[in-house]
């Protein structure tokens, strides 16, 4: 703490502040471009000028850049009173305008543009430069981000985010002088899961949201709300923007306790699933579209006389919806679950029980040693971005994984030998060994790193971790002591909440009730059991029943099999509460209404009896406490009692190769329906480590194909040789799992199929972009 003076006004500052930070906090409107609170200051724009007030005789006043000047007690500056500093800021903007195209009327950023605001603020109103403006080639960057190179003012924010903050290396500053361009070497989509943030940090219209661009609205005409991302368990704060009843864009909503300034590309683009052409927007009964109110149809459907009901909620629907469904089930005397897969239920609940002191993203960033188990990037991108912050500071990051992961590549690059591949069935044993070597006097390797750390963080991916491994990771944290924190990426946005709502073993019980014929009708809200890990079991069971009522907003396999389809609201279209992986209760607000008849999840309560409604209220109260966090606030964390879990057999070590999941960061149940994001889905392939293939007697190269046989199903796919796939494992996509009707850990048979020499190289995990229509028209902006 200290005080400096700007125009004789005292301004308090915090330790570590630069002068600009202090001025901003005191609401002094200093213009700036290159400074960004998350990216710091580099002093490239030279706009944030103030004039020094000499403290000694003979000293001349100087203009200084406040963003790179550390605040010190007693410093004195002139800003508004200065007759020099405003001229500096104004001239810098004048310099920008010798190149900037002034195309605000046709620019997506227009009206919501830092450059525009600052140009007006510093008073550069008329151009005196009468030369030719330089123009620059735009670059095609895939389906998500649009580039208009002429608008760049070279503040370096984009590359500082992309390279310095997110550790990407396929985008950077190229060229020099007034010919610096921010580009990828080759055209095409970014490798980074966080690329969309360059749109957020760019203070101009150089990088804009390409999806938004195709259904553009001026941003002040958007209906916005404080919402929570529904696409993984991190629970990032987002601000959806809609107009005329359709979603146009999603941007991060700044907050201090969760994701701060950024979101991942899944969070930014998956919500566009709401605009998918095949989204259910009308009630459908027996295959016939009906013009009837959704709630009434649902009420009718539930009233059929011969039905013995079961009810399924969902970990991607909010807490209240699941509570209401649970009570509806009890009104209907029906079994209830919020999980589509017994194994996922067990793993989720085991992880939730052990997550009561899970680290926040800031805790992860500040960790001095991190152990990651499972492919974190592909399951909880922003949690992984927090890991990158520690990695960037040279903190040891260790990783145990079975399939290719972007984080593993980074860990390998920065610190050899600290990413280890291993089949998931062996993870528990490895962690146990780590625990026992901790107790040894001379701990070495990973054990030494963990033992010497002051704030170690252990992170696991619950969906792909056997329960024994989940427990072992938590035990490791316990052995390390108070300072260690363990947390898990859970399978869906509200997995934590869903775990609180369902009984032990609920999904297995529901499945068995269906299989036995105890129930002949199922209400499903926001879940797609037929595409999940038990897809094949559900499909068989559901084929037998008469009533399958599905409430959802995606055209899922289960929706397609339904007898009654009731369209529901997406997260941006209704109010609700999610509980994130840390047990943080966060509510989200509706941004807009669809103009068609979709059921708002909060309307479901109308189906309940009076008693049941009261029970929902009291359960909410006991679960979340009396104060519901307001949308946009980062809420508080609940510490629920230990959940009963039940027993379930898991895969054991077999003789043959085991199937593991090759995820990718844009993947999630709803995200698959977001056209642009889904177009980046990597081509299907079967990942196998070259050494393991050799050990199996398979001679493979990049043109080889492999046939996987599991149960009675077969699938032939191009091979992707990757040392990032564990020995004893073959890695395939969720789609391939579904097609094979296989489950995690299933033992498979591999046979080399015909090698196609003419075929292009088998695609790797990095996405290949097929240009969508419209890429050739750039609104006439190409120079």
């Amino acid at each position: 703490m200290g005080t400096l003076y700007i125009d004789d006004q005292p301004v308090e500052f915090q330790p570590g502040d630069n002068v600009l930070d202090a001025a901003k906090r005191a609401n002094i409107e200093v213009p700036y471009f290159c400074y960004h609170p998350a990216l710091g200051a580099v002093g490239s724009c030279r706009v944030c000028a103030m004039e020094t007030v000499p403290s000694r005789e003979g000293e001349q006043p100087r203009t200084v850049m406040t963003c790179t000047l550390k605040a010190q007690d007693g410093m004195r500056f002139r800003f508004a009173q200065s007759d020099k500093a405003p001229g500096v800021s104004k001239t810098m903007v004048e310099f920008y305008m010798t190149r900037h195209p002034n195309d605000c009327p046709v620019c997506d950023e227009g009206g919501d543009c830092h450059l525009q605001n600052m140009t007006v603020e510093v008073g550069h109103a008329y151009r005196r430069f009468d030369g030719q403006k330089k123009t620059y080639p735009n670059q095609l960057l895939g389906p998500l981000v649009w580039n208009t190179a002429n608008r760049c003012i070279t503040c370096y924010r984009c590359v500082r985010f992309y390279q310095d903050y997110a550790l990407g290396d396929d985008f950077g500053a190229m060229g020099s002088r007034n010919n610096v361009l921010f580009r990828r070497i080759d055209d095409g989509a970014f490798d980074s899961p966080f690329a969309g943030n360059i749109i957020t940090v760019c203070p101009t219209g150089t990088f804009t949201d390409k999806v938004f661009r195709r259904k553009y609205s001026r941003t002040w005409m958007l209906k916005k709300s404080a919402s929570i991302c529904a696409h993984c368990s991190v629970g990032c704060h987002v601000e959806p923007g809609a107009r005329a009843g359709t979603l146009r864009r999603v941007v991060p909503n700044e907050n201090s306790a969760v994701n701060q300034y950024f979101i991942c590309d899944r969070g930014r683009y998956a919500p566009h699933a709401s605009e998918a052409a095949n989204r259910p927007l009308q009630v459908k009964v027996g295959g016939q579209l009906r013009q009837e109110p959704a709630l009434a149809v649902l009420r009718q459907a539930l009233a059929v006389s011969d039905a013995r009901w079961g009810v399924m909620g969902s970990a991607r629907e909010d807490v209240v919806t699941n509570l209401v469904l649970q009570q509806l089930a009890s009104d209907l005397n029906a079994p209830f679950t919020a999980f589509t897969d017994p194994l996922t239920e067990v793993r989720t609940k085991t992880a939730v029980n052990l997550s009561l002191s899970a680290p926040s993203l800031q805790d992860i960033e500040a960790a001095d040693c991190i152990l990651v188990v499972g492919e974190l990037t592909e399951h909880a991108p922003m949690m992984e971005l927090a890991v990158r912050q520690a990695l960037k500071q040279g903190k040891p990051v260790m990783m145990l994984h079975a399939a290719a992961s972007l984080l593993a590549g980074m860990v390998r690059k920065q610190r050899s030998l600290q990413a280890q591949t291993q089949a998931p069935v062996l993870w528990a044993e490895t962690l146990q060994k780590l625990i026992s070597s901790l107790s040894q006097e001379q701990a070495d390797g990973w054990a030494a790193l963990l033992k010497n750390a002051k704030a170690p963080v252990l992170l696991g991916v619950a969906e792909v971790m056997p329960t024994a491994a989940i427990k072992a990771l938590a035990e490791l944290a316990a052995v390390l002591g108070e300072q260690a924190r363990v947390g898990f990426a859970l399978p869906a946005a509200n997995s934590f909440g869903a775990a609180q709502v369902s009984q032990a073993g609920s999904s297995e019980q529901l499945l068995e009730a269906l299989e036995r014929g105890d129930i002949n009708a199922l209400l499903v809200v926001g879940a797609d059991p037929m595409s999940g890990w038990q897809g094949e079991r559900w499909s068989k069971a559901l084929a037998k029943i008469q009533h399958l009522v599905v409430v959802d907003h995606i055209h899922s396999a289960t929706v397609q099999a339904a007898t009654v389809v009731v369209p529901s609201a997406t997260v941006s279209e209704h109010n609700g509460v999610f509980i994130n992986y840390e047990g943080r209760v966060q509510s989200f607000a509706k941004a807009y209404s669809r103009e068609t008849q979709v059921l708002l999840q909060e309307e479901l309560i109308a189906l309940l009896s009076g008693d049941a409604r009261a029970r929902v209220q009291s359960q909410l109260l006991s679960m979340l406490g009396s104060v519901m966090p307001s949308p946009g606030s980062t809420g508080s964390r609940i510490k629920p009692a230990t959940l009963p879990i039940g027993q379930l057999a898991e895969a054991v070590l077999g003789n043959g190769p085991a199937l593991v999941l090759q995820g990718w960061h844009g993947e999630e149940e709803v995200a698959g329906f977001a056209t642009e994001l889904a177009s980046l889905t990597p081509h299907d392939s079967v990942g196998i480590a070259p050494a393991y293939a050799k050990a199996l007697g398979l001679t493979l190269d990049k043109n080889s194909r492999l046939t996987i046989s599991v149960h009675n199903k077969q699938l032939t796919l191009p091979v992707s040789l990757s040392a990032q796939v564990a020995e004893g494992c073959v890695a395939v996509s969720r789609r391939a799992f579904a097609e094979l009707q296989a489950r995690l850990g299933d033992e498979v048979k591999l046979t080399a199929a015909m090698r196609l020499s003419e075929e292009p190289a088998a695609p790797s995990v990095v996405a290949h972009f097929t240009p969508l229509q419209g890429d050739n028209s750039n609104g006439g902006l190409r120079p």
Binding site: G43, R62, F129, G131, Y156, R177
Partner: protein, 439 residues
């Protein structure tokens, strides 16, 4: 005066190690190894040796900034990027006597206690870099580099790094970024390299010529060095003269020799029929001096006193056949082209100045443009991230003062009277270099 840096220039080929040693090469190490480091730094301060890379900062003082308990490793980085128009002195030593460099680096590294030295060589000096590399190898083979050199307990290796190019790589922090494999953008100072330099370690960056003076100062003493200078200067310096003179070249002369002696006695005076209009005393970023200032001693303080800078001591001559505006435009175009592109005033301000100068040549300039040049120079100079742009506008500001009437004449005559507009415009398009001063 005794020649130091150019003492071996009369040989047709660079000397091999044996011949170099036979002439007293590396003898200086006897006066250095084993001697107290602080004492040597003090002696250096007393000698009056100042950085030859342009800024003229006291070398001894710079070295004293290195903390005694500085975290290891400590690096010595030699700046042999020499890309400023008008400067071509380091090149001579590199091509003609590379062992002098090795000896200078070794002596300096010992004094500052460096663990490793890098010589960052301008990309175009590829052949010279190979010669230096050869000398370094000879020194290694003879045990003059490597572990425990001559039993002194001191170990050093020298890494010769060929630059990937561009003038900005000569700015010391951009140079460090380039060495680390990053874009050659200058870094924010503080921290200064002596605190946080190459790979975050304490680093001393010096011009090649600077370190080459160190062995003889240590061998013969600060007083001897001072005595080498004239008129208040210390030591000798490799002066360079380029442009329309009879004998352009590099001359080792006492620091403080007058400009008149340098230009007329050593460089042979102007070509017949030419008249001296002005000259830049120390490379293309230094303000002009005029014929009435020819008796100024060429040392840092004397040149600073009359409002210019000694810089690298690379004199560029402007005669009466070239339009002063065209000359200045060429300079500014060079700097606009060599801007690293990091900060706004340099990246976008210098091309703006080029545009305004073009208007003078094309005859479209107005009095307002004249005023704008003046105004922009004042806003660019003090507000950039590094010293490139201030160096770019200094000669422009000086031209505005000296050639005020020329600017006005160009406005009134709607163009340049030195050459027809068409030729000028096409030359402008081809980016003609500064006369005599571009490499």
């Amino acid at each position: 005066m005794e020649k130091v840096l150019s003492r071996n220039f009369h040989h047709a080929q660079p000397l091999d190690l044996a011949t170099y040693r036979a002439g007293g090469g590396y003898d200086s190490l006897q006066s250095i190894f084993g001697r107290d480091r602080e004492e040597m730094v003090n002696e250096l301060r007393a000698s009056g040796l100042r950085g030859c890379g342009g800024a003229g900062f006291s070398t001894g003082l710079k070295w004293s900034f290195l903390a005694k308990d500085a975290p290891r490793p400590v690096y010595l980085v030699i700046n042999l990027d020499e890309s400023e128009p008008g400067s071509c002195k380091d090149r001579q030593v590199l091509y003609r006597d590379p062992h002098t460099i090795v000896e200078g680096v070794l002596a300096s590294a010992y004094i500052i206690g460096a663990d490793k030295a890098f010589v960052f060589v301008r990309g175009e000096y590829k052949v010279g870099a190979a010669k230096l590399e050869k000398a370094v190898q000879e020194a290694r083979d003879a045990g003059l580099l490597g572990d425990n050199i001559l039993g002194s307990g001191f170990s050093l290796d020298i890494d010769v790094h060929l630059s990937a190019g561009r003038y900005i790589c000569g700015e010391e922090t951009a140079l460090l970024n380039a060495l680390e494999g990053y874009r050659a953008n200058p870094r924010s100072k503080p921290p200064f390299p002596a605190v946080k330099g190459l790979w975050g370690q304490p680093t001393i960056v010096n011009n090649m010529e600077t370190v080459c003076h160190v062995p003889s100062i240590m061998h013969k003493g600060a007083q001897w060095f001072q005595g080498q200078g004239q008129n208040g200067g210390s030591g000798t310096h490799l002066f360079q003269v380029s442009g329309p003179v009879k004998n352009p070249g590099v001359f080792e002369l006492p620091m403080g020799v007058t400009a008149r002696e340098l230009i007329y006695d050593h460089a042979g005076g102007l070509l017949d029929g030419r008249k001296l209009i002005a000259f830049q005393p120390g490379g293309s970023s230094t303000p002009f001096m005029t014929p009435d200032q020819l008796d100024t001693p060429m040392h840092f303080d004397a040149v600073a006193k009359i409002g210019s800078r000694l810089g690298t001591g690379g004199v560029i001559i402007m005669d009466d056949t070239i339009c002063p505006l065209k000359y200045t435009r060429n300079l500014i175009e060079f700097y606009a082209r060599e801007s690293c592109g990091f900060c706004t005033p340099c990246r976008d301000g210098l091309p703006y100045l080029v545009h305004l100068f073009d208007k003078f040549e094309l005859g479209t300039a107005t009095a307002a443009d004249h005023q704008t040049i003046l105004e922009l120079c004042g806003l660019i100079g003090p507000n950039t991230h590094c010293a490139l742009a201030p160096g770019a506008v200094m000669p422009v500001q000086s031209a505005l003062q000296l050639f005020d009437d020329e600017f006005k004449k160009h406005i009134a005559a709607k163009g340049c009277s030195y050459s027809p507009v068409a030729a000028t415009a096409s030359q402008a398009a081809a980016g003609a270099g500064v006369q005599g001063g571009h490499h």
